[in-house]
């Protein structure tokens, strides 16, 4: 043992620093597991797409645009008749997704031997989801709360606030994982989520000549705003999975 240590021991502080930096890099690579929440929320976003198409249905009576009972901030106010399902879908999908991610990190820690503290990520996501659910109903009792969400109508009117809640979780996770790569992914995803929230992306496709003539008619024009953030998450998740799997093999 002593012989082995003497053989592998660095002799200069510079070498020791290099060895410690290598240990830190390997530990960080081993504990990274953020591909899972990226893929999970990418799939959950794809799962919401049919609901956005349904929510964009043409009203049965001219001018009968209604706001359904349900979580207004998560449902948004699309130009169609029914956004009820979108809101409740996201309420369940966000809480479920964050809980599943926490379980994933616990399983990953037991398997890899290094533990990422994902509790801050869970608290960020669930707290924002709960706030989105309770603030509109509470505004009836506490009128000052309307100052928190009515002026921000542009970011929730399209029913895309869930994307921003996912983005906030990614920032918390990037901090917990100490990952610059995930911070870059969070930045790109936040940009996509804001674009989806503030702009009708189908306008770009329309200018490019895409004018969907299907039984769904113009309802499909809701899809680009949903599928763009989903594509960012799925592409980043797939890339992270491949990189982390290769890194795991390299450090094994």
């Amino acid at each position: 043992m002593a012989e082995q240590e003497a053989h592998t021991a660095p002799e200069q502080p510079e070498e020791l620093l290099g060895e410690l930096a290598d240990l830190r890099r390997r530990t960080r690579t081993t504990r990274h597991g953020y591909w899972f929440p990226l893929i999970l929320f990418g799939l959950l976003t794809c799962g919401a797409a049919p609901l956005y198409v349904a929510a964009a249905a043409v009203p049965t009576r001219s001018g009968a645009y209604t706001v359904d009972a349900g979580p207004l901030l998560l449902s948004g106010m699309p130009a169609g008749t029914s956004s009820f399902y979108v809101g409740w879908y996201w309420a369940l999908a966000l809480v479920g997704g964050y809980l599943l991610t926490l379980l994933w990190y616990r399983w990953h820690a037991r398997r890899s031997g290094v533990w990422t503290p994902a509790r801050g990520y869970l608290i960020t996501g669930v707290a924002l989801t709960v706030l989105a659910l309770v603030i509109p109903p509470l505004t009836g009792l506490l009128h000052f709360l309307q100052g928190l969400w009515l002026p921000l109508g542009d970011v929730w009117l399209r029913g895309t606030l869930a994307f921003l809640i996912i983005a906030a979780g990614l920032w918390a996770l990037a901090r917990a994982e100490r990952s610059r790569a995930l911070a870059v992914i969070a930045l790109v995803y936040t940009g996509a989520a804001l674009l989806s929230s503030l702009y009708n992306i189908e306008n770009v496709f329309f200018r490019l000549g895409w004018n969907p003539r299907t039984p769904f008619g113009w309802q499909l024009t809701a899809l680009p705003n949903v599928l763009l953030p989903a594509a960012v998450l799925l592409a980043a998740g797939l890339g992270a999975f491949l990189v982390q799997r290769r890194g795991g093999r390299g450090t094994a």
Binding site: A9, E11, P13, L17, L23, R24, T27, R28, V114
Partner: protein, 156 residues
């Protein structure tokens, strides 16, 4: 992953040489040898209190204990992971952990995963401070001797 060996509960006898400590007769290869390089150290009449080696902590300044602190500063780590990452035997790792735990630099938590015992090691605030001080000292040593601390092991 194999079962972690239990930590040695017996405190180290100060009268006995600590097998985890470097032998004073055999300088730790990881220990920089500043004496030949610093004339001020060879002359007791002219001590250099500002020399970086004065900031080295005997508990921390040991290659494997520095490794333990570096890994646990990054993430809470399991006994088996530390053993594999540092290439130590379970008994040797236990002794290093005992030294660090007695100094308040790490916390050792024992639990179960199903029926399997699992030992997790986390760094304390004191441990982070000691690691940061040690890394700063090593970096300063490298700088003084004309090296380039290009690959730092800082906690950031």
């Amino acid at each position: 992953m194999s079962e972690p060996a239990p930590l040695d509960p017996a405190p180290l006898d100060p009268a006995q040489p600590d097998p985890a400590q470097p032998d004073p007769a055999q300088p730790d290869p990881a220990q920089p040898d500043p004496a030949p390089r610093d004339p001020a150290q060879t002359d007791p009449a002219q001590p250099d209190p500002a020399h970086p080696t004065n900031g080295l902590d005997d508990t921390v300044h040991q290659r494997h204990r520095l490794g333990i602190l570096t890994i646990t500063a990054e993430a809470r780590a399991d006994f088996g992971y530390l053993r594999d990452a540092l290439g130590l035997t379970p008994g040797n790792l236990s002794r290093h952990l005992t030294v660090l735990e007695d100094a308040g630099l790490v916390q050792v938590e024992k639990g179960y995963q199903g029926r399997r015992p699992r030992t997790w090691v986390r760094i304390t605030g004191q441990g982070r401070a000691a690691l940061a001080a040690e890394l700063a000292t090593l970096t300063e040593l490298v700088r003084r001797h004309g090296g380039s601390p290009a690959r730092q092991a800082g906690p950031a």
